[in-house]
């Protein structure tokens, strides 16, 4: 019997287990999936937690619920991969051999990379919303905040869901407007990029929205430190931006396990072929989701597109056939713009987000690069789709018969 091992039971790992168990099963194959956590988090929901739109129950479920019964689930921390021995070392001292390995250990925040970020003010006036704990701490802070300077900040690229900090700024604008205290809050958006986004067309649309919502933008800001005494962020050029609340997206990195295994780059991402999704240096190791270094967005939608192509490539690999070079970096994401509206953008390695509409069966056209209420409903529906369709690896993601139909047009 051969062993296929999946590291990480988050978005990507769970999808792969659900895809592959139909094809690789006993008596020839055994699939094992390893994760140190008990719970699966719907990370896009972290964006809504601080504004009391979602409650913790909406976004946390048990990992077990989504893993097929014939897949062996191991709930332990992975210490390291020994690629030359085809072996995984677990914290418990156990070892697991593999014939084929899929790495889906994701990315996480590393506030310790920036001086002063995890300092005295951490989770007091310096917050992240990329972790469950951070988003909850921020929710508690915002519930009775009286106003002041709100700074929304990106430390460095790449980050997961690169539009999430912008969405945060938009949602903050409408949150404070609804609380009738928008005039007491000054919102500044600080980015290391030269504009609101990395793709010129989307940047134009987004900067227009920032202006409209009276959100000030500071670009080309490469942070050196958080000054906890004066409550300012300081960049290498000496530029200082004061805050009463700093909502930062710290440096994102792959798991430390890559450093321990000697397999990652300087941010612990695994060098991966961007078309086949195979690790560059290892024949029998494949990588999907946030753990790879491919130049695509680190997003659940990308992971979903990757999972379909990777499934085919894994099957080709085990049958000794050449891999398909098919992945094009396809990403689509809803961008919440506040006031119950959202944008939808769709792009890949080479194509910029286009204006037009994106046909989803059952929900109708969603407008790309134009704010609409439908897009907002799409974003909210995405949570339902995530739990009920995407994780289970269903091929066509939008099944009309089971889609909740948005109430408002």
């Amino acid at each position: 019997m051969k062993n296929l091992v999946i590291l990480g039971a988050g978005t990507g790992g769970t999808m792969m287990a659900n895809h592959l168990h139909h094809h690789l099963h006993s008596p020839d194959w055994r699939i094992t999936i390893i994760d140190e956590r008990q719970e699966h988090h719907y990370q896009p929901g972290y964006l809504f937690l601080p504004f009391d739109v979602y409650s913790p129950d909406d976004i946390v479920k048990s990992i077990k619920e989504f893993i097929p019964e014939d897949v062996h689930l191991v709930q332990q921390k992975i210490l390291r991969i020994a690629p030359t021995e085809n072996k995984i070392y677990l914290e418990s001292g156990n070892e697991i051999l593999y014939d084929v390995l899929i790495v889906a250990t994701g990315a996480k925040i590393a506030p310790e990379e920036t001086e002063g970020m995890r300092g005295a003010e951490w989770h007091k006036s310096v917050f992240d919303f990329y972790t469950f704990e951070g988003a909850l701490a921020l929710r508690d802070k915002l519930r009775d905040w009286q106003g002041g300077k709100l700074v929304v900040h990106i430390t460095e690229m790449p980050i997961k869901c690169p539009v999430a900090p912008l969405e945060f700024a938009f949602l903050a604008d409408s949150f404070f407007t609804q609380k009738q205290m928008r005039d007491k809050v000054e919102i500044t958006y600080v980015t290391p990029l030269s504009g609101a986004f990395t793709k010129p067309k989307a940047t134009e649309a987004l900067e227009h929205l920032l202006k409209e919502k009276n959100i000030h933008i500071e670009s080309d800001f490469a942070i050196e430190q958080v000054d906890n005494t004066t409550k300012e962020i300081v960049d290498y050029g000496g530029r200082r931006i004061p805050f009463d609340i700093l909502v930062t997206v710290p440096t994102n990195k792959g798991d430390e396990l890559m450093a321990r295994s000697g397999m990652g780059d300087d941010l612990n991402y695994i060098p991966t072929d961007k078309a086949t999704l195979r690790a560059k240096n290892y024949e029998n190791i494949f990588v999907l989701g946030d753990a790879s270094n491919i130049p695509a967005s680190k997003a659940g939608s990308v992971t979903h597109f990757e999972a379909e192509i990777l499934t085919e490539n894994i099957l080709r690999f085990v049958h000794g056939e050449p891999l398909k070079e098919e992945f094009d970096g396809h990403a689509n994401c809803f961008i919440e713009t506040g006031n119950g509206k959202a944008l939808l953008i769709d792009f890949n390695y080479t194509h910029e987000p286009v204006e037009g509409s994106f046909p989803f069966q059952g929900i109708g056209p969603l407008r790309l690069l134009k704010e609409s209420r439908m897009n907002h409903m799409g974003k909210l529906a995405f949570r339902w789709i995530y739990w009920n369709v995407l994780l289970k690896g269903t091929h066509i993601p939008f099944v009309p018969a089971t889609m909740p139909v948005p109430k408002q047009q």
Partner: protein
């Protein structure tokens, strides 16, 4: 598009980055530096050459990499090319503006 720099017509993109490195020379660098309000010292030239070599070796340039390069630290990099050093320095060096991953 074409732009006249230091008396030569060179191919540039919308943001003014050279699109053909073979057209780059020192007088072009000096003129581009001048446009950015920088006068090039020997140390500037060392850093520009370093960036050109990295680019040639297909290293993706980022502030983080520069910081870890042991060639120039980020503070000094900012002193040499103020405000947005990577953008400014790559433009003067005649190499593409680094794309930060989306």
């Amino acid at each position: 598009m074409e732009k006249l720099i230091a008396g030569k017509s060179v191919a540039v993109n919308e943001e003014g980055y050279l699109t053909d490195f073979s057209q780059w020379d020192k007088s072009i660098a000096e003129e581009l530096a001048h446009e950015a309000g920088i006068s090039l010292s020997p140390r500037h030239w060392e850093v520009l050459t370093y960036l050109q070599n990295e680019h040639q070796n297909q290293v993706a340039l980022s502030i983080r990499r520069i910081g870890k390069s042991n060639f120039v630290d980020i503070k000094e990099f900012y002193q040499l090319f103020p405000t947005a050093p990577l953008k400014t320095a790559t433009k003067i060096a005649g190499i593409p503006k680094p794309v930060s991953c989306i």
